[in-house]
């Protein structure tokens, strides 16, 4: 059975000041994560990818109004009672945050923080929790476990903290790990080490991963499948290799074209003209129409439907056409 199913997720926020006015940063998002697989959620800032991740755990800000369905192994999470959500958080689903330095409690040593989580979900004594924490740290290649556990967050480097956070995520044997831009704050080499680590752990433990990132190269490196988000909608999904070598949606094509390569020596950087529409809800037709190189009248009048393409792929475009990126 599919591990995580997000179906038609829409998140609405009342607009500050005026009543009756709303923004909808996430619209109709549908994606799935299979057990043991990694789904990359790719998009630029503001595309709604972080909100989607937070929605899975029910961690949206209090003003948010989510609709749709989010199911973990068939268990409905959206709108679930707080007790169910709290039981799931940190145990069945664990989150790895972007900035490990701020995600840990700054005034407590790491040991205390591991103890809190482990004892919350598994019970047991502090000694038992401490022993488990040490084992987990060793698994994420932090070997000086006593020193690390005794340290405060500000005493450790970003890379070490991120590994520690992954260890914390593993502590209660999660079935799904949500990684929200978890390598964005790290150096390039450290980021790669962390990705390798995550892969290795996934093979060893068999959890699924929802990997949120804006970095296409990273998504390709790490993910089995990818979902591309634009302005709150999923514009394309499919196996990562195929989507990246033969993108179907014009946005994906443009994204890939924009990535500079070694051969681009001296050439101006390719970029997309225009901007994401300021008021997405006011747009009739396709949200991408104002920037799309292939726009037709149909695009401006009618919003596209998700079209299924061969190879377990979908794209949100009237003219979805898998072809090699320019």
């Amino acid at each position: 059975m599919t591990l995580l199913t997000v179906e038609d997720l829409t998140i609405e926020f009342p607009r500050a000041g005026r009543s009756g006015d709303t923004t909808r940063p996430v619209r109709g998002v549908t994606l799935t994560v299979e057990p043991g697989q990694t789904l990359g959620v790719v998009g630029e800032t503001g595309s709604g990818k972080t909100l989607t991740g937070l929605a899975v755990l029910g961690l949206l800000p209090p003003a948010a109004r989510p609709r749709g369905s989010i199911r973990l192994d068939g268990l409905e999470l959206l709108g679930a009672p707080p007790s169910r959500l709290r039981a799931v958080r940190g145990s069945a689903i664990a989150m790895v945050f972007q900035n490990p330095a701020t995600a840990f409690d700054p005034v407590r040593p790491l040991r205390t923080q591991f103890e809190r989580v482990i004892r919350r979900h598994r019970g047991g004594s502090r000694a038992q929790a401490g022993a488990r924490a040490a084992k987990l740290l060793a698994e994420v290649e932090l070997h000086d476990t006593d020193r690390v556990l005794g340290s405060y967050p500000h005493q450790l480097s970003g890379g070490m903290l991120q590994r520690a956070m992954i260890a914390l995520a593993l502590s209660c044997e999660p079935r799904l790990i949500i990684a929200d831009e978890s390598t964005s704050a790290l150096d390039v080499t450290v980021a790669q080490q962390v990705r390798r680590l995550l892969l290795r752990l996934q093979h060893a433990h068999g959890f699924g991963v929802l990997f949120i990132t804006h970095n296409l190269g990273e998504a390709r490196d790490l993910c089995d499948r990818v979902a591309v988000l634009y302005a709150g909608e999923v514009v394309e999904t499919g196996p990562v290799e195929e989507v990246f070598t033969a993108p179907a949606h014009p946005y994906t094509k443009a994204l890939l074209a924009a990535v500079p390569t070694v051969d681009d020596d001296g050439a101006p950087l390719a970029s997309l003209p225009g901007e994401v529409p300021a008021d997405v809800l006011a747009v009739t037709g396709c949200v991408f129409a104002n920037r799309c190189p292939q726009t037709a009248d149909l695009c401006r009048s009618t919003p596209p439907e998700a079209r299924t393409l061969p190879g377990d792929r979908r794209a949100l475009c009237h003219f979805a056409d898998p072809e090699v990126a320019a």
Binding site: R86, V88, R89, A94, M95, A103, D105, V117, R120, H121
Partner: protein, 338 residues
């Protein structure tokens, strides 16, 4: 941690020394002549000169300062012009009464203030929040002497609750006298199993303590609220929730712990502020403490007494600030690096 302690303590000692300089200068700047105060307006020149010599006023200023400092250290703080007793015995004899009042007030203030602040932060922008914020700003704006009088008129005058003035009922001396062991009547009554004395002291303590606590409650509640709001928005609180920790733990232990350092600072500052606030409460409630003594001394130009109280006040103030620094460092390890 020890190095931090040492550095701070050394700095505090230096500042204390500085305050003795200020106190000394203030005493010498006084427009009136202490000799005249002793002898009265009809004193003859030789008598005045004799007193000047006795008090060392005919020596140079630096020498006078050294003598003064020496006296402070030795415990010779002069004789009170008003009571003709040594200033030290007057001050230290009355100190426990004031300390007891301060302790009661600060305890109430911390418990109520923090509780109200947390509630206001958790129920932000709702009714409870607005009510608490109004109470807080009211408490902070209220003159202590006025509040004390109001409480006397309403709670005692109209409702007949608690006591009007004084630390204990004068009759208690005959029925269940409190044996002074520590000087703190609540403690002493407990230690000697004096139930009547305990209740009597408590009854007399309520109104003055509440009056004195009004300002600190306001400040502490506001600071707790502001600090909690900030901490609750922090990443590690979201992470704690993401890991399924119970709300009571997340708010009550993690968030509150992180929110406390500025609250501690501010609580220490309100304690320092209340050192002088106690003066007014003692005057209104006829509380036999340091404040009442000081208020009388101020009006009667009893300079040795005033100087003594000033030095003690400064020392207490410095000590409280030092204690605040230490507690802060204990709560937040990052402070120790500063």
């Amino acid at each position: 941690m020890r190095r931090f302690l040492f550095r701070r303590a050394a700095a505090a000692a230096a500042v204390l020394l500085g305050t003795t300089v200020v106190t000394f200068v203030l005493a010498r700047v006084v427009p009136s002549d202490p000799a005249l105060a002793y002898l009265g307006p009809k004193a003859r020149p030789e008598q005045i000169a004799e007193i000047h010599h006795q008090l060392g006023l005919d020596r140079s200023l630096p020498v006078q300062y050294v003598n003064y400092l020496g006296g402070l250290v030795r415990g010779d703080w002069g004789i009170s012009i008003g009571t003709k007793q040594p200033v030290t015995s007057e001050i230290f004899g009355r100190l426990p009464a004031t300390l007891e009042l301060l302790a009661a007030a600060m305890t109430v203030a911390l418990v109520l203030g923090i509780a109200l602040g947390v509630i206001a932060a958790v129920r932000r922008q709702r009714l409870a929040d607005h009510v608490i914020r109004m109470l807080a700003i009211g408490g902070v704006s209220m003159p202590a002497f006025w509040l004390g009088l109001l409480l006397q008129v309403t709670v005692f005058g109209q409702l007949g609750l608690f006591a009007l003035t004084g630390r204990n009922d004068p009759d208690l001396e005959f029925t269940d006298p409190i044996q002074e062991i520590t000087g703190f009547h609540l403690v002493d009554a407990l230690l000697t199993g004096n139930a009547a004395g305990f209740t009597d002291t408590l009854t007399h303590l309520v109104l003055p303590a509440l009056t004195l606590a009004a300002y600190p409650i306001g400040v502490i509640a506001r600071m707790t609220r502001a600090s909690m709001i900030e901490v609750l928005a922090a990443d590690h609180i979201r992470a704690a929730r993401a890991y399924g920790l119970r709300e009571r733990m997340t708010v009550g232990r993690i968030a509150l712990r992180g929110a406390l350092p500025p609250v501690v600072t501010v609580a220490g500052l309100t304690l320092a502020y209340s050192l002088t606030g106690a003066f007014f409460v003692e005057v209104v409630f006829n509380w036999p403490g340091l404040g009442q003594f000081a208020a009388t001394a101020l009006l009667n130009a009893d300079y040795p007494a005033i100087m003594g109280v000033t030095v003690l006040g400064a020392a207490a103030y410095i000590l409280v600030n030092l204690a605040v620094d230490i507690v802060q460092a204990r709560l937040d390890p990052r402070v120790r690096l500063a």
